[in-house]
């Protein structure tokens, strides 16, 4: 019985990679632990080790192939006693072939094909993008890098600092190429002290520069929170308008995959509580780019919350010389009439899937992407609720004092007479994020919960 060797995942969030080199040839004998190939992602180059023993019967993916999805069969291994030629022919009978490498893969990206197609008007309908603009498929990671590079070219006062941002090109490769273009004085590797370099950044901003402070994750920024809240957010106010801090604190926020309690928290609600801060949390690459550019130009401190899982997702980004979006404006991702689904950041991935399934059930949901958490675009939400009369808010953060709680409160005060059902909020479970895959899944919101809540508010 032959065995398929699958494209491994180097990390829980990897979805695809390049097969850069085969170190074994067809016909070679392979022992468990032998390095058989080298694969490469935007993060790193790594070796693929054999699990099982046998003879390399056939190479399915040639060296130099780019964009090989995790779990794709890359070779066939003939096990002891098996005819190699026969095994090589066994390609295509994949269903009966045991999988050789069980990897920590993320759920496959949007399985949109399985559900009715969404109306393809979303991007064109975005009032912030001129009709007829050419669109380029771009990952969120590239969009963030492009935004920083464009602003750094435009304004000498903009610089980026943080752990691993220079030589390593960013722990998540968001600062790719910036060191090479802008040099060591504008792309600065810092010692490991979020409290320290957030403070240095705030000081630099008060001196008139426009720092972009990258946190390797916002989970490490808890110790910097005093600098952010007590200094960055309040100094303009306390100094009678004399000294502000035009600074962007950015980095991945919330849960990724398999990183447990101390690395999986969403800070949207936390920072949204603070007067003096603006809080942005984009979902799409276009929003990531347009809003990061706006954040860098903004004279106030801006918390820019990204998401590790979304970094690799591709979206259409308008090809424009200077694409800047307004902070504080929600985007109607998909218009609808029966119910309003509000979310932001990675919460949108659940909502778009739920929306597609609901459409199959005859429920026409309006999906609103907040994009900015503070200042919050309540007008767009309330206008939508006046139309649909029902509201479900979705986020990954904890339930108490959540963004959804505040929206529910405001809607009940400002549009109570328009509501046909209580506002339902969906959040993460009220526990620290567990590590185990099954528990982690349980701790986060899911599509079924959104569908159930939507059915409840539409009395289906």
């Amino acid at each position: 019985m032959s065995i398929e060797i699958l494209m491994p995942a180097l990390s829980p969030t990897m979805e695809e990679g390049n097969l850069s080199k085969w170190l074994k040839n067809e016909g070679d004998t392979i022992k468990s632990g032998d390095v058989i190939a080298e694969i490469e992602t935007d993060k790193a180059t790594m070796e693929v080790e054999a699990v099982d023993e046998g003879v390399l019967a056939k190479i399915l993916i040639a060296a130099g192939t780019e964009g090989v999805k995790v779990n794709t069969p890359i070779a066939i291994l003939a096990v002891e006693g098996e005819d190699v030629d026969q095994a090589a022919k066994g390609v295509g009978e994949a269903d009966e072939t045991p999988k050789a490498i069980a990897v920590a893969a993320e759920p496959a990206p949007d399985k949109q094909a399985a559900v009715p197609a969404a109306p393809k008007t979303e991007a064109a309908a975005d009032p912030d993008i001129p009709a007829g603009t050419e669109m380029v498929s771009t990952t969120v990671r590239e969009a963030l890098r492009d935004a920083m590079a464009e602003e750094m070219r435009r304004d000498q006062d903009v610089f980026v600092m943080g752990e691993e941002v220079a030589e390593y090109q960013g722990a998540y490769k968001i600062t790719q190429g910036l060191l090479q273009e802008f040099g060591t004085e504008r792309v600065i590797d810092t010692p490991i002290t979020e409290h320290g370099f957030a403070g240095v950044g705030v000081g630099a901003a008060m001196a008139g520069l426009k720092p972009i402070v990258e946190f390797m994750t916002f989970n490490f920024a808890m110790q910097a929170i005093d600098q952010i809240i007590n200094s960055a957010a309040k100094t303009l106010y306390m100094s009678g308008g004399q000294m502000g801090a035009p600074i962007v604190f950015r980095g991945p926020n919330g849960a990724a995959a398999r990183v447990a309690a101390q690395h999986s928290q969403c800070y949207a609600a936390w920072y949204s509580h603070i007067p003096g801060l603006k809080v942005v949390m984009p979902y799409s690459a276009a929003d990531a780019k347009g809003l990061l550019k706006a954040a860098i130009r903004d004279p106030n401190p801006v918390i820019f919350l990204e998401n590790e899982i979304l970094y690799g997702h591709s979206f259409d980004v308008p090809k424009m010389d200077d694409f800047v979006l307004p902070i504080g404006k929600a985007r109607i991702h998909k218009p609808g009439k029966d119910v309003t689904l509000v979310s932001f950041g990675i919460g949108m991935t659940y909502c778009t899937k739920a929306e597609a399934e609901l459409r199959g059930m005859g429920i026409d949901a309006e999906v609103i992407d907040l994009r900015t958490i503070r200042p919050l675009d309540l007008d767009t939400i309330i206008a939508s609720v006046k139309k649909t009369n029902r509201l479900v808010v979705v986020e990954e953060g904890y339930p108490q004092s959540s963004v959804g709680d505040f929206i529910a409160n405001q809607v009940s005060q400002r549009a109570f007479d328009h509501l046909d059902a209580p506002v339902l909020t969906i959040a993460g479970k009220d526990v620290p994020m567990p590590y185990a895959a099954n528990l982690e899944k349980l701790a986060l919101p899911n599509v079924a919960e959104i569908i159930e809540a939507t059915k409840a508010v539409t009395y289906r």
């Binding site: 080790e49 600065i188 590797d189 010692p191 490991i192 490490f220 398999r258 447990a260 590590y435 185990a436």
Partner: protein
């Protein structure tokens, strides 16, 4: 002020980057046996130079020489060698298990095995370590079952931490191994608090804090030194300088202070540097520091000079930031090889016995792995119970969690 030059700032750079020839000529290595061994109650003022030298016991020929030699018996030394070999074999298997998808993440100790295994032997039962993720040797050398470590790594149905914590973030009160924090340095100051509490309770147990070269930049490190210095806490403050904090070379955190040990001098804390790849030297220095703590002489700062021969973690690729051959050029050698050569010279070991021990160690690691995999791995087999998600958050489960658990049907 009319003709002042424009101001500049300085970004430290490592000696070489990928493509260059490894160069450690700046690492000054004193001869083994050449550094004095002061009495444990020596005035910090009088031993300042120990923060700028390197205490070494094993010389180039494998002999144990000088005033720091002789802290371990033959049996303890052969056990120590076996612990280091076990840790290396354990790492190799778990590294591979990650590549096979049995866990999502792993961190190995390659080249640093002596630091934690030798240190553990200088402590007593009941003492508490606040380790980082690269001190699993503390558990191995204390006889913590490998299968429990693997159950944690695989996050399976026998995971002692019940699926709640990242792989390698072990925790065992019984073995004096405090829960590892994924956020760096937070525990350095907590360890000082633990040590002070032990003194307040008139207990005899001491604490050991652990930190890497990179995270000494964290304010927790500096706070810990302030408190340890002020209150003369019964603690050993360990800085493992393995030269690299992911891609950031140690000079970024060290700045102009010369050595990490020198950070302790301003606080009046006796501060020593030791050859971290020399099992005998690590043990002797740790024992000296433990005796100080236990005799109410206060804290000691130890910098272990070593080299991270492997990647930072399974998500890291060091060839992006340092020459591939740099670890071969590391002047302090390999800790296992050095102890092995010493034992052979001592007449209590041989190449044959070493080969046999390697096979035995690998067999025991594989047997533990088989057993652990029988309880499940990340994506197959037994998993933590879904009840575990709601348990253990509060001493008593509050009503809203009870409701959530009921809603989840568990």
């Amino acid at each position: 002020m009319a003709n002042s030059a424009p101001l500049k700032f300085h970004v430290p750079e490592p000696e070489v980057r990928p493509g260059g020839t490894p160069d450690f000529s700046n690492v000054v290595i004193p001869e083994a046996g050449s550094v004095e061994r002061p009495p444990v109650d020596a005035e910090p003022e009088s031993i300042r130079k120990l923060a700028f030298s390197i205490i070494r016991v094993l010389n180039r020929d494998g002999e144990a020489v000088g005033p720091w030699a002789g802290s371990l018996t033959d049996e303890e030394l052969t056990a120590g060698l076996r612990h280091m070999m076990t840790l290396r074999a354990f790492d190799a298997r778990m590294q591979m298990a990650q590549r096979q998808g049995k866990t999502s993440f792993y961190m190995q100790h390659l080249g640093e095995e002596a630091v934690s295994t030798a240190f553990r032997k200088a402590l007593a039962k009941g003492d508490m370590n606040f380790p980082t993720y690269r001190q699993a040797g503390l558990l191995i050398a204390d006889g913590y079952p490998m299968v429990d470590m693997m159950n944690q790594i695989f996050s399976n149905e026998r995971d002692p931490l019940r699926g709640r914590q990242l792989p390698v973030m072990y925790s065992s009160r019984e073995h004096g191994f405090f829960t590892i924090s994924g956020n760096l340095a937070t525990q350095f100051v907590q360890a000082v608090g633990w040590a002070m509490a032990s003194a307040i309770s008139k207990d005899t147990r001491i604490a050991a804090a652990w930190i890497g070269d990179g995270s000494t930049a964290e304010s927790d490190f500096h706070s810990a030194l302030v408190f340890a210095s002020t209150y003369k806490a019964p603690i050993i403050l360990n800085v493992v300088n393995n030269q690299w904090a992911i891609s950031t070379f140690q000079g970024i955190a060290r700045g102009g202070s010369g050595t990490f040990a020198a950070r302790g001098i301003g606080f009046g804390i006796p501060s020593l540097r030791v050859d971290g790849n020399d099992f005998l030297a690590v043990h002797a220095v740790a024992k000296w520091a433990a005796e100080r703590a236990r005799s109410n002489l206060g804290p000691t700062l130890i910098e272990y000079v070593t080299y991270r021969a492997g990647a930072h973690s399974t998500s890291d690729d060091p060839s992006a930031y340092r020459p591939k051959t740099e670890s071969d050029a590391w002047p302090l050698g390999d800790p296992i090889l050095r102890l092995k050569n010493h034992l052979i010279l001592r007449g209590i070991w041989s190449d044959e016995r070493h080969k046999q021990a390697e096979a035995e160690v690998m067999d025991s690691v594989i047997a533990a792995q088989k057993e652990a995999e029988g309880h499940g791995t990340l994506h197959s087999g037994g998993k933590p119970s879904v009840r575990d998600i709601f348990e253990g958050l509060y001493e008593e489960m509050p009503p809203h969690l009870r409701r959530q658990r009921q809603q989840a049907g568990v």
